[in-house]
Symmetry: C2
Subunit: 682 residues, 2 copies
Amino acid sequence: MSNDPLVIFTPSGKRGRFPVGTPILTAARQLGVDLDSVCGGRGICSKCQVAPSYGDFSKHGVTVAADALSEWNAVEERYDRVRGLKEGRRLGCQATVQSDIVIDVPPESQVHRQVVRKAASARPITMDPATRIVLVEVQEPDMHEPSGDLERLKAALAEQWDITDVAAPLHVLQTLQPALRKGKWQVSVALHRPANSARHDILGVWPGLHEGGLYGLAIDLGSTTIAAHLCDLTNGAVLASAGVMNPQIRFGEDLMSRVSYAMMNPGGDREMTQAVRAAIGDLATGLAGEAGIDPDLVFELVIVCNPVMHHLLLGIDPVELGQAPFALATADSVTLGAAELDLAGVAPTARIYLLPCIAGHVGADAAAVALSEAPGASEELTLVVDVGTNAEILLGDTSGVLACSSPTGPAFEGAQISAGQRAAPGAIERVEIDPATKEPRFKVIGSDLWSTDPGFAEATKDTGVTGICGSGIIEAVAEMRMAGLLDASGLIGGAEATGTGRCEPTGRTHAYLLHDATAEGGPRILVTQGDIRAIQLAKSALYAGARLLMDKRGAERVDRVVLAGAFGAHISPKHAMVLGMIPDAPLDKVTSAGNAAGHGARMALCNRSAREEIEKTVRRIEKIETAVEPRFQEHFVNANAIPHAVDPFPELAKVAPLPIVSFGASGAQPGGGGGRRRRRRA
Amino acid sequence: MSNDPLVIFTPSGKRGRFPVGTPILTAARQLGVDLDSVCGGRGICSKCQVAPSYGDFSKHGVTVAADALSEWNAVEERYDRVRGLKEGRRLGCQATVQSDIVIDVPPESQVHRQVVRKAASARPITMDPATRIVLVEVQEPDMHEPSGDLERLKAALAEQWDITDVAAPLHVLQTLQPALRKGKWQVSVALHRPANSARHDILGVWPGLHEGGLYGLAIDLGSTTIAAHLCDLTNGAVLASAGVMNPQIRFGEDLMSRVSYAMMNPGGDREMTQAVRAAIGDLATGLAGEAGIDPDLVFELVIVCNPVMHHLLLGIDPVELGQAPFALATADSVTLGAAELDLAGVAPTARIYLLPCIAGHVGADAAAVALSEAPGASEELTLVVDVGTNAEILLGDTSGVLACSSPTGPAFEGAQISAGQRAAPGAIERVEIDPATKEPRFKVIGSDLWSTDPGFAEATKDTGVTGICGSGIIEAVAEMRMAGLLDASGLIGGAEATGTGRCEPTGRTHAYLLHDATAEGGPRILVTQGDIRAIQLAKSALYAGARLLMDKRGAERVDRVVLAGAFGAHISPKHAMVLGMIPDAPLDKVTSAGNAAGHGARMALCNRSAREEIEKTVRRIEKIETAVEPRFQEHFVNANAIPHAVDPFPELAKVAPLPIVSFGASGAQPGGGGGRRRRRRA
């Protein structure tokens, strides 16, 4: 055994013996300790800060002398004078080993540090972005050796960072020469390594040490809303988030009407393509402005979206997605330059990564949900439902994952409902009906009060009560069933049968009067027989999809249900089960993942290997096409009934919606008051 | 030895035994015989036509029976009916082996056929373009296997053509789906393989068999002229050629004045970049129109140019090329998409290849000359001189090649000469002075007559005699020396010393009156002492560069001289040697390569491995920087004298300029009358 000093790194526990005089950074590299450095040990970047510990470390079997490291040197002194070095910190590239030592690597000095999780349910993100910055010293040109500046930069990357196979886009060639000369042949280089590739693309070059940062955008491109997070790619922090309406709405509310628009109007797809690209550019510009950063430092975008949005973004006519067999132009992940999409608000060399699509109806957004929720990594059989106009459904555990899409239609979003409206202030979002009196109470978006609470009228006088949104209609129907106003087939009883005048005749059927706002100039908000039928169709489609996957899997029940999507965040799990939207599961096993697709996008943005992971995962997912499965129709018909006539969870009679992770503008409304909160498991 | 029939292919001589029933195409592939096929043996493309031979082939040791091949089948009959099959031809994919057979592969059925050489001196071009077309049958989409159309196309390329590692740009993704459906799942795919890469990029997709062709542009981007050939990439034919003035001339006549313009005017480099890109786009559009082809089928461009033009084309500020150490932004070859340069007149997916630069003063044009003239492949020590404002000089043989650039200045182009002008109709281009009478005779561009011939005045009445161009002034100075009007130092003698009144005093020196056109309203065309000095400076620089390389090589003489460039095509080798522009060499070893740079561009366009060859060659070339070599100055001073007082080749007193290969608008003027023509070797 060597007599060289022992160096022990925490928290990794990695240890080794090194000759006296070895810099801590060198020891860390040789042991594979995760210690950052941009300048390669030149004492410039300060990324390699470490915290040495002194004294007795009996558990490590060493005692650290006060002079176990070399004394502060001129570089550290200058750095401390100019920028300030935190108490007890040393620069790992300057401090050298003198005797046995214990070195702590603080989280901010770790390259692959984990991003602090905001929600307990979210998968942690380990930083390992596809783009990183290194500082190099480039050989000056020489008339005797007339290589180009780029070739000498490449030689420096190979020699100083062991990085070979480097390519430079034209934009970098155009800026390289002044940067090298301004930096006195020392430049910072942003290097991008695409997924599944050994190649490095230079995305930017700056004179000297670049301190302006490196940023990325995680974008959830929905049919209705485009939401984006602006992330710091060096530490994963979200600097700004925003959402805008998808401007394609003017071409059609839902996806199929946009496909129809493209089919009926020559050039219609190009109009929609331009609209969505411009909106993303505006969103990017706005976020950079909000965060006070230079848009030219946004080097990466990860975009998740459904297949129709995917094709329209790329400028591919979506016509094939509107008809069987729903063929995608490409199902694999797509990597592009920002210039190819003519995107504003980002660096000209920025790279765009679109997650792979699972199938013609199950898009990159579902892939992002699979990345975020990882049903394939779960020991429990997990059902993940992303509810929108189409529901994307994943079912699986470590033995495999199945996926399908089910055409729920827009009823869950308040469309096709007599008093339906978007989730906006004034919309009824929560409903309770007293089983004894058959009297309702409700809450509207924009107020925490129940309609029966004192002050409700005052609190809602600006918005009024204008209609009912998706989560509201689901609760209303479920509550009506539990209050005995509906039979199992979904038929609303008359006043006589139900004992309440709120069940009023409308033609040959009945409707339940939820609220009469005519006194304030508002509407009469009824739940009609047509509304019940629309919800029955939607929930049957969702249930049948889940059931089909369970059949394929040979499962009679699921262990766990995850409701994803902004809408999923607002659904009351109890009401969803009363309605028979989702298979029964223990209530504490029904969780909301919030915007799981957005979280998946952020994972892929911050971690290059997450891209490789989801590409592999998607290839392994078994796709089930509901349209050609005879059992889907069978399940669909059988799922029409509303199963639970009484509250299946009486001890939780008054349950609040699940706490959720907000993602941009489409995020959660705060959960309202009353009742005991459900205990959650970590 | 097997009893299977013997199949012998000519002209390759490859032979092998194959079971009865083997298609000829299959036999050819297994033997590595160069037999084309686009459709992969489906009887669609007719590229695999072969000519079977029947009868006694004693030299091959076989007798071919009349039924040695299968009978015409339905596919061949249909093909013959629809398109016509040449007498004696069979489709190689349809005709099968029945007994011993001799099969000739005609040149048009060979993939790697050689392009017919126009000039004896030009290196032959073997067709092996980076882009080729294949036909594939793609699996239809299926709801049970929801892969994308692109992924199924890739699978088909792998299965039917063994082509893996395929990438599709966005533009192809946008056109793929309609092409597949229109072609009923049979599509032609244009595949591009960049130099030094195993990757294939899809550049275009067409329904069914694409019969529109595949084209490329070889572009010689000079400081003054941009010349381009439009080539058919399937057979190497030049369909159209054209040249336009480089519009950057308005920013400066020579390169250094353009560099100055960029330095003095913020954004000046961008103006020049836009101007040259627009000019190339116009040229491409014009050529496609002239050839009657769709510009969207022009998939490749090869561009050769000097370093300043290279940088200005790419949008790189050329400022570094204007000052020591003349650092290039990049010296390696550059591969780009047409969209990156915003080029019109070509396919949106077209690929642009710029040859590597040799050094900051020795550009991609010199690399193209090295490719075309291949001094490194010569057993004889070969000096290649590309004369322009800068002369690029290559010296070498199989043991190695040296390169330098020498600042000759614009005198050789008629600039800085008192009566100098560009080579245009009316300019004196050939001069002879009778050593006895000291009387001159000359020819002007636009007429084949000598000025002393009857009818000269009539023949030149439209143009007049307006000045003297580069080749004219060289001949004039050399002839003056041989006629005893100049001493070795270049001093013009007075009327008394020379015995001719044409040597008239001008201030303290004398000038020789070549022609007095005042009677016709033209100028008096004199060769002044200043003109002699300008030519001496220019020729000394050229000679000193060549001499420096000879020193480095340790050579006292060269075996062979190649004069390249449009100007080189007009220089009389004898006069060049009298003047001491180039080292002495046997006159029949001095040849003109015409536009060698343009020929090199065409080689790289038609042959992918020529790109790899020149990239390797350029790395091996030893670069000599004249500006830092003390011996260059020494040689320059020593070269000032005009060595030959008498005609060194009296037996060839009246030699015509070398025949040259025309390249676009900057091509040759036809060689004029009088005298015995020099015999040339092939």
